[in-house]
């Protein structure tokens, strides 16, 4: 790695007053130049993104306003698909389940992965090994993950219930084959699988926390908790924003895991929106309607993201 040559920035720093940006009133030509340079950075990625992702996504939005069985022509139906959502009980169930999953999966995953990152960011013997272990669930084939967890959860033969049976009498949870316990089971596995992934992102963020700030706080007599709260967390804010948005979106979009673990069952106990989209689109060929569900899912994600975005911006300012 090359070490960047950064000259005495502390002495030079004052010539450009640090904050606040709004005070800076650059001339128009500078503004234009800045915009142009900004765009040159973005353009290579944006070209690919606009053509390969944005165009199909816009098509999807259009399709949500049509009746389309994928093969024939798409007939314009206006907002009919959205009107139909109001009366569609399965959609309501899928929406409820999705929110249920997200409501638990988001906070638990953030806490667990942050704790893991903090623990494994220390100079521990074998930290490299443990980091790899924590990352393993993310790289293990999802089919194997589903198979093993299903076996662990097996009500009759599974080790989890055998273990629980030693402490509690009476009815044990039926886990993935019980209406009430299937969702908690899926959330546990979801968290287990994702924690290494988000740990990695937090770990990257933790590297930006200046060690001298920690030292200073320690000298000031701050305890571990205070240091975490007053030093680590504020420095981690951009990463925290990123992780929160990603966990939120990924949780609301959860698909593969549910598909291989419970396939939405038993009954509709773990049916989620992404799966409902697939069901309507690829099993029943109602692509227009499936697109409308996708748009709703998108709107929920965007709503949450914008709230997080604004909140983050306000704290930045």
């Amino acid at each position: 790695m090359t070490t960047p040559v950064v000259g005495n920035q502390r002495t030079l720093g004052f010539s450009q007053p640090e904050p606040p940006p709004p005070l800076r009133k650059p001339r128009t030509s500078l503004k234009v130049r800045n915009a142009l340079i900004g765009w040159t950075f973005i353009l290579p990625n944006f070209l690919g993104f606009a053509v390969l992702t944005l165009t199909p996504v816009i098509t999807l939005f259009y399709m949500s306003l049509t009746d389309w069985n994928i093969f024939g022509t798409a007939d314009w139906v206006g907002l009919d698909n959205f009107a139909r959502l109001f009366g569609d009980k399965s959609f309501h169930i899928a929406l409820g389940n999705t929110l249920y999953y997200a409501a638990l999966h988001i906070p638990i995953t953030i806490i667990v992965s942050l704790a893991l990152a903090l623990l494994l960011n220390q100079k521990l013997r074998g930290a490299a090994f443990f980091r790899t272990v924590a990352f393993f669930p993310y790289i293990t084939s999802i089919v194997a993950v589903a198979v093993v967890w299903n076996m662990l959860f097996s009500p009759e033969f599974g080790p989890i219930n055998q273990f629980l049976g030693m402490f509690v009498g009476g009815d044990l949870p039926g886990w993935t084959v019980s209406k009430d316990w299937a969702m908690p089971a899926v959330i546990i596995v979801g968290t287990w699988k994702d924690m290494g992934y988000y740990m990695l992102l937090f770990l990257a963020g933790l590297q930006t926390v200046p060690t001298e700030l920690h030292e200073a706080a320690r000298i000031d007599g701050a305890g571990a908790w205070q240091r975490f709260w007053n030093v680590t967390l504020p420095c981690l804010r951009p990463t925290m924003f990123f992780v929160t948005v990603m966990v939120t979106i990924q949780s609301l979009k959860v698909f593969d895991l549910i598909l291989v673990m419970t396939d939405g069952g038993p009954g509709q106990a773990t049916l989620v929106l992404s799966q409902y989209i697939f069901q309507k689109g690829f099993e029943q060929f109602q692509f227009g309607y499936a697109s409308a569900v996708a748009v709703v899912l998108f709107l929920i994600c965007i709503l949450v993201t914008v709230v997080q975005f604004l909140y983050n911006k306000r704290r930045d300012a």
């Binding site: 069985n69 994928i70 093969f71 024939g72 009366g87 569609d88 009980k89 399965s90 198979v147 299903n150 076996m151 959860f153 097996s154 009500p155 009759e156 033969f157 599974g158 039926g174 886990w175 993935t176 084959v177 019980s178 209406k179 396939d263 939405g264 069952g265 038993p266 009954g267 509709q268 106990a269 049916l271 069901q279 690829f282 099993e283 029943q284 060929f285």
Partner: protein, 431 residues
């Protein structure tokens, strides 16, 4: 390694078939000059049927080349084919694998009208007639499996239970399953095995119950079938649905390694079991096939025709096919769904839609297939009704019934409540 042996088994069988003179020999109005048509199939390594049909046809029509395009197996076939159809990239001839998608395919204009081909086929061809939508046929069946009862003779003897004799109703079957479980008296060996698919309960109920219809809005006909299966799993005569799904049990292992004395399963399993016994993947034991148990005595006994279910697998022509190839493609369909195709398929242990004596002879001449009378009767005689009757709403209804199946079998929801719920959902969401 299984599949190596399985295909070796197929080749040997085809060779023996050719010797007995069943090879394809047809004189259609062959188009002039060399023509190439493409055919969509899936997983060629373990599904030799497409290659067999293509080879047999090419042999009979040296001018024609049938080019195979490989798709993934299972439901992924539909996903991938759907994508190709939507982009105009699908092959000339493709398999309509799930009957429940047939109407969507025809509605979307993806299939060519082949009523003329259908008219020339033997009316006895299983599943042919319901393929006509408003008098027009868009796909013809070339293979049709039917559900049968497999049983392990040695476990029956060990338990001292009489072998099935073709007279069984479902209650007889349930009683035998309990008796077997007790008689064998071994941990993890059960009287019977029911796989987790919804068809293992609903397919029979729909086929065997008088007046039952998928789109009738009334699912009460499912109740007795579910009650019986629940009693069996609660009594330990078959692994519970919870165990089957959470431990991902495979029916091949359950029956093939003698963990279950009986098993309702499709006729495709004959070929699999023979091959697995030969390769050592399954244990060696004597087995037989019986008619699937019946709802009541009106259809039991070898003097009657037992009622079972099974969806035909059908073949259609891509509406976007090059005009110059239409005649060749139609001729290929005529061949595949006709007696020549049937003979070729039987030669590799696959049950064609058209079952005649030649087919039965071919199947039962394969090494390892049980030779008793009842097995042959079961294989050749049955009224096979579709699991997914052709209809506008079949796919949507099956989704709802599938969810009901997991709710009932996992004992999350009582049978009656689940049925009412399913009926309400069909009224609310479908149509």
């Amino acid at each position: 390694m299984n599949r190596k042996i399985m295909s070796a088994f197929g080749v040997a069988a085809a060779a023996s078939l050719a010797l007995t003179g069943c090879g394809g020999e047809s004189e259609p109005e062959a188009p002039e000059g060399p023509v190439t048509i493409s055919l969509a199939g899936w997983d060629f390594a373990s599904t030799p049927e497409f290659e067999t049909l293509a080879d047999a046809y090419e042999e009979a029509n040296p001018d024609v080349t049938v080019e195979l395009k490989e798709y993934p197996a299972g439901d992924d076939y539909d996903t991938a084919l759907t994508a190709d159809l939507s982009a105009g990239a699908a092959p000339d001839v493709f398999i309509v694998k799930n009957l429940k998608n047939y109407v969507t395919f025809t509605d979307g204009g993806t299939l060519l009208d082949i009523s003329d081909v259908a008219a020339e086929l033997d009316p006895e061809t299983g599943g042919l007639e319901p393929m006509a939508v408003d008098g027009v046929t868009y796909a013809v069946p070339y293979r049709q499996d039917s559900w049968l009862l497999y049983y392990n003779k040695e476990l029956f003897e060990k338990a001292g239970v009489d072998l099935p004799d073709g007279s069984w109703t479902w209650d007889d079957y349930a009683a035998a399953a309990e008796e077997l479980t007790e008689g064998i008296d071994e941990k993890s060996v059960t009287g019977t095995y029911l796989h987790s698919w919804q068809s293992t309960v609903q397919g029979f109920a729909l086929a065997q119950t008088e007046g039952a219809a998928l789109d009738g809005g009334d699912f009460s006909f499912l109740a007795p079938y579910y009650e019986r299966e629940l009693a069996l799993q609660d009594g330990g005569a078959q692994p519970s649905y919870a165990t089957v799904t959470t431990n991902e049990l495979t029916y091949q292992a359950q029956f093939g390694t003698q963990k279950a004395a009986m098993m309702p399963m499709g006729s495709w399993y004959i070929g699999t079991l023979v091959a697995e016994q030969e390769s050592g993947a399954a244990e060696t034991f004597e087995w037989g096939i019986a008619p699937i148990p019946q709802l009541d005595e009106s259809t039991t006994g070898t003097e009657n025709t037992p009622v079972t279910f099974g969806d035909p697998t059908t073949m259609g022509i891509n509406a976007g096919i090059d005009e110059s190839k239409v005649e060749t493609a139609k001729d290929f369909l005529r061949f595949a769904a006709g007696p020549e195709g049937a003979a070729a398929l039987a030669g590799i242990g696959i049950t064609p839609a058209l079952i005649d004596d030649t087919v039965a002879d071919a199947i039962f001449s394969l090494e390892g297939v049980p030779q008793d009378e009842l097995s042959r009767f079961s294989y050749t005689t049955h009224e096979t009704l579709p699991e997914n009757p052709v209809g506008q709403n079949t796919a949507a209804i099956q989704t709802i019934l599938g969810e009901m199946h997991s709710a009932v079998m996992s004992e999350s929801t009582p049978v009656d409540e689940a049925i009412t719920e399913a009926e309400e959902r069909v009224a609310n969401e479908v149509g």
